[in-house]
């Protein structure tokens, strides 16, 4: 008896929806077994990772805080992933965006109008887009693999951040800590819901999810991106410009990551310091796949990943697992969702060794 994959005539829509759910559930089971094997209480770990953040009334605000940047970044990344242009450097663009916005803040300490937030956000988008422009230029001009170039620039952005906050942008009144001056009141974005910690980024995430949903579904550009990924040859014969797709997907995903970066800086930290880089840019890659590269799916997946990330902190204090081990759940989820892709495109047939009729073909 052996297992054989048989191609479906049409990709299964049921599987497309069922596999992400299955991936999350199976992650819990496998995760529990893994943590048991490593000598932790597996069941308790899963409970803390996945359920405490949802059930504890005060934790959902933390979840929303983490979900917002993940969703914003993943919406942009999904565009590239659909077109099979791989932007792995969103973390660098996220940092570059924050630097862009912080530069405006640095130049305008005396401006008291709240409108200053608009140029700050725009500078964030531009910063992120510029950081993604280099891989796009290298890809279109010199055929450099964007996976490696965008990723290398993450390391460069970390050094640039460290240089600026410990050099030219260092807070003169900061007791020599490597950090920028605190943003002024005018430079801070207020909470989305007064009296809670719900970040303004969540409003952006909701609006942008809707915008991307409509744009991907209705616009010629959305169609262009889908065809470029699914059938690059057809796209070329159809007159789509491959270079334009590279540029647009990288600039948009970079801009979105930059926006998430400046939103985080101006609503959560209120300055830039060495604690700013968060790994959102990497986690968002998982969000985009778990959400099946669909804006609505990404919105939900952003919350799922945010839950595991908050849960990681809970589990650290309750079950004493290292918080970074949350990466295990996130990676397991991505593994399973990618394996689940096969069920969308193929039927699994169990072939008994007696009936070898199809084997000759």
């Amino acid at each position: 008896m052996r297992i054989r994959f048989e191609k479906r005539p049409e990709p299964s829509n049921f599987m497309r929806l069922a596999t992400p759910v299955g991936a999350v559930l199976l992650t819990m089971v496998l995760g529990a077994l893994l943590f048991d094997a490593l000598g932790y209480d597996g069941q308790e770990t899963i409970k803390q990772f996945f359920f405490t953040p949802v059930l504890a009334s005060y934790k959902w605000q933390d979840v929303a805080t983490k979900a917002a940047p993940l969703i914003i970044i993943a919406l942009g990344l999904a565009l590239g992933n659909t077109a099979k242009i791989w932007n792995i450097g969103a973390e660098g663009q996220y940092i570059a965006g924050a630097l862009g916005g912080a530069f405006v803040a640095y130049l305008t300490p005396d401006v008291t109008s709240h409108w200053i937030i608009v140029p700050m956000l725009l500078a964030g988008i531009i910063g992120g887009a510029l950081w993604a422009a280099l891989p796009a230029w290298l890809k279109t001009r010199y055929n450099v693999n964007e996976v490696l170039s965008s990723l290398m620039l993450v390391y460069v952005s970390l050094q640039l951040l460290s240089y600026l906050i410990d050099g030219p942008w260092k807070d003169p009144n900061g007791h020599n800590f490597p950090q920028t001056a605190a943003f002024t009141d005018a430079q801070l974005l207020p909470r989305a819901l007064p009296g809670t910690y719900v970040p303004p980024g969540l409003v952006f995430a909701i609006v942008l999810t809707f915008v991307f949903w409509v744009a991907m579904k209705r616009s010629i550009y959305g169609f262009d991106v889908r065809v470029s990924g699914a059938a690059p040859q057809a796209a070329r014969y159809g007159g789509f410009n491959a270079k334009r797709t590279v540029w647009s997907t990288l600039l948009i995903s970079g801009g979105m990551a930059g926006l998430a970066g400046i939103l985080e800086a101006t609503s959560q930290l209120g300055q830039l310091n060495l604690g700013f880089p968060s790994g959102y840019g990497f986690t968002a890659i998982i969000v985009s796949f778990l959400g099946r590269l669909h804006p609505i799916g990404i919105f939900i997946a952003g919350f799922v990943l945010a839950i595991t990330s908050v849960g990681g902190q809970v589990a650290q204090t309750v079950v004493h697992v290292p918080s970074a081990s949350g990466g295990i759940f996130q990676a397991l989820m991505l593994f399973l969702i990618l394996a689940g892709d096969v069920l969308v495109r193929y039927r699994i047939k169990i072939v008994h060794s007696a009936s070898k009729a199809g084997a000759a073909a």
């Binding site: 290398m152 697992v321 593994f335």
Partner: protein, 307 residues
């Protein structure tokens, strides 16, 4: 500059180059078979923590290296099942492996933070390495020699053996290799396991030789440099060796520039040098080979014989 300083700089260079070279040699074989495994960083970390744990509990660094290789290969096979058996997207799965390795190594290593093992240095008698010049030849950890030997073995294997030819054929034209009766999937599994083992040993070099202890994410992104190195080398073992030493020299310069307080450039500039150079070098290499003809033709493409 005194002779001693030059020699100690060369010793540092060799130390920095070795793990990149090992991991890149493994990845070169993987990519030659037509598979792109981006999870090198994760496999290195799994190797680093396993190697340390085993060397710490058995007091035997050789067993540590062996365990690191096995752990690297095992984590690579998780990737293998997904991309080969399930035909999953290689870029995304490789990333998942990198993230998984970072998380898993942190979890396994939690109990080992702060412990140390005796550094796994020279295997030659101490008298041989007393003179600074001879130290350059005989003063290294066995892993250093292993890395050099493996590049040569891989070069010979790919060029002069039948199975090396088959592996290249699988990477260049999987359908033809399949139709003349070679198991594309089987050969790719073997290549992936080999790449994982090499990455695992590369990781153990960090935790057993460079700093004989475990620290979270101690490979510090070198796995990604190894990936860039394979492209830089145009998938040729000879160029891989020179390329690895090129990066090694750069990173040594960074260390020395930092240590000597080269104040006219900020230390962050030196720290980002290897990555900037990697991008620059990729651009130079890719510009010369516009068509990408050097890359294995099937690189990154899933092979599903059922279709």
């Amino acid at each position: 500059m005194s002779m001693d300083l030059i020699i100690s700089a060369l010793v540092t260079t060799i130390g920095i180059t070795t793990p990149i070279l090992l991991a890149a040699t493994g990845e070169l074989v993987v990519e030659k078979s037509g598979v792109l495994n981006l999870g090198v960083e994760g496999m290195m970390l799994v190797g680093a923590v396993t190697g340390f744990a085993v060397a710490f509990t058995t007091f035997n660094p050789w067993l540590g290296i062996l365990a690191a290789a096995a752990a690297g290969a095992a984590s690579a096979l998780v990737f293998g099942v997904l991309v080969l058996t399930f035909g999953a997207n290689q870029v995304a799965t490789g990333l998942a492996l990198a993230i998984f390795g970072i998380g898993l190594s942190t979890l396994i290593g939690a109990g080992f933070v702060g412990m140390i093992v005796p550094p796994f240095t020279s295997i030659f008698p101490e008298e041989l390495a007393r003179d600074p010049f001879w130290r350059l030849i005989f003063g290294h950890s066995p892993i250093v020699y292993l890395a050099l030997i493996m590049v040569m073995v891989v070069a010979w294997f790919l060029k002069s053996t039948r199975w090396g030819l088959v592996l290249r054929a699988v990477g260049e034209n999987d359908l033809s290799a399949h139709s003349i009766g070679y198991s594309v999937i089987g050969i790719r599994y073997a290549a992936i396991a080999f790449g994982g083992a090499m990455a695992g040993i590369a990781g153990s070099y960090f935790s057993l030789v460079i700093t004989p202890m475990w620290a979270e994410q101690m490979t510090a992104g070198r796995g990604w440099i190894a990936l860039a190195l394979v492209v830089f080398a145009s998938w040729k073992p000879g160029r891989l060796l020179t390329g690895a030493y090129f990066f090694g020299v750069l990173m040594t310069l960074e260390l020395y520039a930092k240590a000597s307080g080269f104040s006219f450039l900020p230390s962050q500039f030196w720290a980002s040098m290897p990555y900037l150079m990697a991008v620059l070098v990729l651009a130079l290499i890719s510009a010369r080979e516009r068509t990408g003809s050097e890359a294995p033709a099937c690189l990154g493409k899933p092979f599903m014989p059922g279709e």
